[in-house]
Symmetry: C2
Subunit: 401 residues, 2 copies
Amino acid sequence: MAVVRHVTLPAGFVASGVKCGIKQSGREDLAVIACEKDAAAAAVTTRNQVIGAPVTWCRKILPKGFGRIRAFVINSGCSNVCTGKAGLRDAEEMAKRTAQRLGTKPRSVLVASTGIIGHLLPMDKIRKGIDAATASLGRDNDTAALHAIMTTDTRDKYAVVQTRLGGKKVTLSGIVKGSGMIAPSMATMIGVITTDAAIAPTALGKALREAVATTFNAITVDSDTSTSDTVAVLAGGAAGNAVIGLNSAEYKKFAAALRELCGALARAVVIDGEGATKLIEISVRGAKNVRDAEIAAKSVANSPLFKCAVHGGDPNWGRIAAALGKSSAVVVPEKLVIGIGGVTIFRGGLGAKFNLKKVEEHLKGREIRVECDLHVGKGEFTAWTCDLSREYITINADYHT
Amino acid sequence: MAVVRHVTLPAGFVASGVKCGIKQSGREDLAVIACEKDAAAAAVTTRNQVIGAPVTWCRKILPKGFGRIRAFVINSGCSNVCTGKAGLRDAEEMAKRTAQRLGTKPRSVLVASTGIIGHLLPMDKIRKGIDAATASLGRDNDTAALHAIMTTDTRDKYAVVQTRLGGKKVTLSGIVKGSGMIAPSMATMIGVITTDAAIAPTALGKALREAVATTFNAITVDSDTSTSDTVAVLAGGAAGNAVIGLNSAEYKKFAAALRELCGALARAVVIDGEGATKLIEISVRGAKNVRDAEIAAKSVANSPLFKCAVHGGDPNWGRIAAALGKSSAVVVPEKLVIGIGGVTIFRGGLGAKFNLKKVEEHLKGREIRVECDLHVGKGEFTAWTCDLSREYITINADYHT
């Protein structure tokens, strides 16, 4: 029988997703992803100052952002955010119960919750869900696990990258959920990455932090940063390569593979952005420095006027120039060059003469490329966003607490 | 005959608005507002780095932001932004021709243009418009002048404040346009304020800068800062009060009146925000300092998720808490108190028990109040925004360059 596989593709991992009754839709709402033994692990969590109880738990057990982890338990339908001490107790109980069932310590279990803010978890349902999920862990339940972490998502979002390290084939695989409340300063709503690579926790932590900076932290759907964002990577070591340490040639190879995987997952979140019909890539080069390039790219990516223009298929360089100019990045209008889909539309402080038909054709596609060269330095950054449609308003004005 | 009057309410001012054929709609598109003699004047312009040629001209003739000015010429339908040297020449010619007709120096005439970016002004039409407008200056043309500065605006936006200074009745009156591309760091799209008060230019400059900080710079429709924002005040002195200098008791009174006027005009812009159905006031208190209070208030005011929730009438405190938390202002969830319409809905890190019916009733109104107390200091700031509706997308996705 053909089975869709992602988190269990790397050797040494099992997963499960069950329906425990949190979601009104009756769909899968609790997932456990586990390694057969303690895995090297790293996690990045939201920079929002209002954080969910599960984020507090993750920071408690991985205070440096890396360490060793056996499993990750995740529920959807209720985010356990702004739930006080009772919420913290509930997050810890999720770890404890999962750990008991797997025969490990509570501190070896990461927890994440996603969904509505401000409600306590229905712990009776959660307990039953954890029991059912840990009892059905296996290599054929990836799809159920993925569905169990989704909320307003409309697509399955996963990616796989393979590479060779120290003569061994190594697989990195990830699943991700997120559609609204997606903005820079975060590690997307929830992402789980598994790999059979053998790597030291310190090296894994560094690789994840660096990968997130240019992938999950380079996307925005609506400039709103979630309170629950968590992305974690578990490295089980079953590939049998020599353990990767910092600053080795193998480290660079692994980090590049992880960055590729995170990039694919991050773009998948934007493509599934609330109301999105198009993926927009904004590349800024020639900025004063990398920080300026990021600020400029995100200023365009978060401009509602620009996003509406793309939705309407309009090559409106005025809105791109205005969005760059309002940012704190150094912008000199006379030096600025703006292109869409490889066609220069603005140069020397003026609109350029260009093939309107060609640009409009590009804007009709599903993937839009905007290229900005500030010509004041060497900083580069690429951000991803989606267009802004009436559907975004419908989803978010009709969603009630 | 009853005549609507605003900019000519203060003694000593005349105005005119004419149809010179720039707007496809055929409506008024060129205005001149003039003082009978040189007025003390102050102007604040956009902080966007991409600026229109008229902004460049205003900064050239008022390098310190204040001085003496006779008249203000404004056209709509074309913003003269990103138009290079030809655009600068055109802006200067607008000032020169207006000055000639009024018998004054070009450097005594402010210029503003609003409308589409990236097109040269149709100078033949502009010249004829200036000739017609300067020939028809009077005290009965205020409505035509106001209509001549509007673009996507759907309402006339003006306000009048009266006070007594040095025993004399003094009138301050203002008109404003702006509906989209409205965001902090600006002085709204275009605002013209006239007053018969006698005041030194330095004092007028200070009063305008301070008033703008908490009024025009406290509003946002869509977080997009315009390239053309200009607000100017002309003080003719016809009221006959002793000239107001800095640091006098009369200065404080005048500054308060100007702040009141700017506040009314700024709120009028938000009420007429593209697609807006509600005015939302976000008051932040108890912030670490005023800067933090402003950052926190604007983070809520610019949150698309929050603005959609208000549009849907949903008391979604989770989105308010998340928007505060994602900002760089110091936020301690346990200390945070959030209220809507005077009803506390979040406290101590948790949703409060509250009268849902009362809050939902408030959210059905046209003016929504959100109160946030961070309880970490004494900083206060109030920001204004509008809800985010499908109509915003319609207006901005269907607008073509």
